[in-house]
Symmetry: C2
Subunit: 153 residues, 2 copies
Amino acid sequence: MATSNPEARPLSRGQVELIDAMVRASFVTMAVLTRTAAEHDLSLTQLRMLAILRDRQGAMSELADYLGLDRSTISGLVDRAEKRGLLRRTPNPLDGRGVDVALTSEGIELAHRGAEQIAQALSPMTRVLSRVEARRLVALLERMFGPDGAYEP
Amino acid sequence: MATSNPEARPLSRGQVELIDAMVRASFVTMAVLTRTAAEHDLSLTQLRMLAILRDRQGAMSELADYLGLDRSTISGLVDRAEKRGLLRRTPNPLDGRGVDVALTSEGIELAHRGAEQIAQALSPMTRVLSRVEARRLVALLERMFGPDGAYEP
DNA sequence: CAATATAGTTGGTACTTCCAATCATCTCAA
DNA sequence: TTGAGATGATTGGAAGTACCAACTATATTG
């Protein structure tokens, strides 16, 4: 499956270096996130789900779209989080098939603490940059990946 | 588990923005990696293992250290990859307990194709930056995360 | 209103990951 | 030099993640 190169354009040396650096940086970042999540007995996916539900609440299927996961996966994910008291299912009043999901106050609190702790865990790295460098880096990352919440590519 | 803040130092607005941007960028990057790996029926961990073994081969325990995983996890990971013909176990001649792992030619080829394909998949993003910007971004990422192969934090 | 589409759940499979226990081998100190 | 403990790897058991296929119940539409 996947024939080698449907239409491979050659990459410059600089491009490759940037890709390597970005991949490395992402692995380190994700390792920090995973470790932090684990300290609260959360998987990375669970933590991400909390982060998403902190801002916007809604239907199971929306959650599936945001997370890029199958609906059946969401069922299990929500099951376990609900059993822990982090969120609640409520039937959608407008659509008899639909189920809405919202964080409990406990879930909100955990989402906040998690975010705070991730920031603390990453700050030793971000602190090595000066204010100007940090701003420059943010600008470059946003150029590459889009300015906001576009979690999916 | 994990009392709120052992020693939380407040973060500046700029710090927080950088952390958010970095986390977002990492999620997008990892999603690309995961998708690319899946196209070859590989998990992200498997792909990472191949990438590591492409450069340096060695003992199971070294692999565990590089990947930051328990040794028992490595056993299973290597089992499945070996069954697929991607790598081979050989007893370490100097230590009767040790087992060394090395990619087969098939594994090497897959690792190469994977890396190439990831680069292609990420290049639409990296291409939006000019040569100078790309170089600047690499420099900033390396300042933050260390210059090389330090996959672990 | 019947046909079809959609929302969510369930069951099955495969994989990841951990921990605890085990086996073999190695190392070191009495 | 041998016996106690350390180390390398595997196994088994458990819980979680994630997919697909099949199903139920409700909506939508021709």
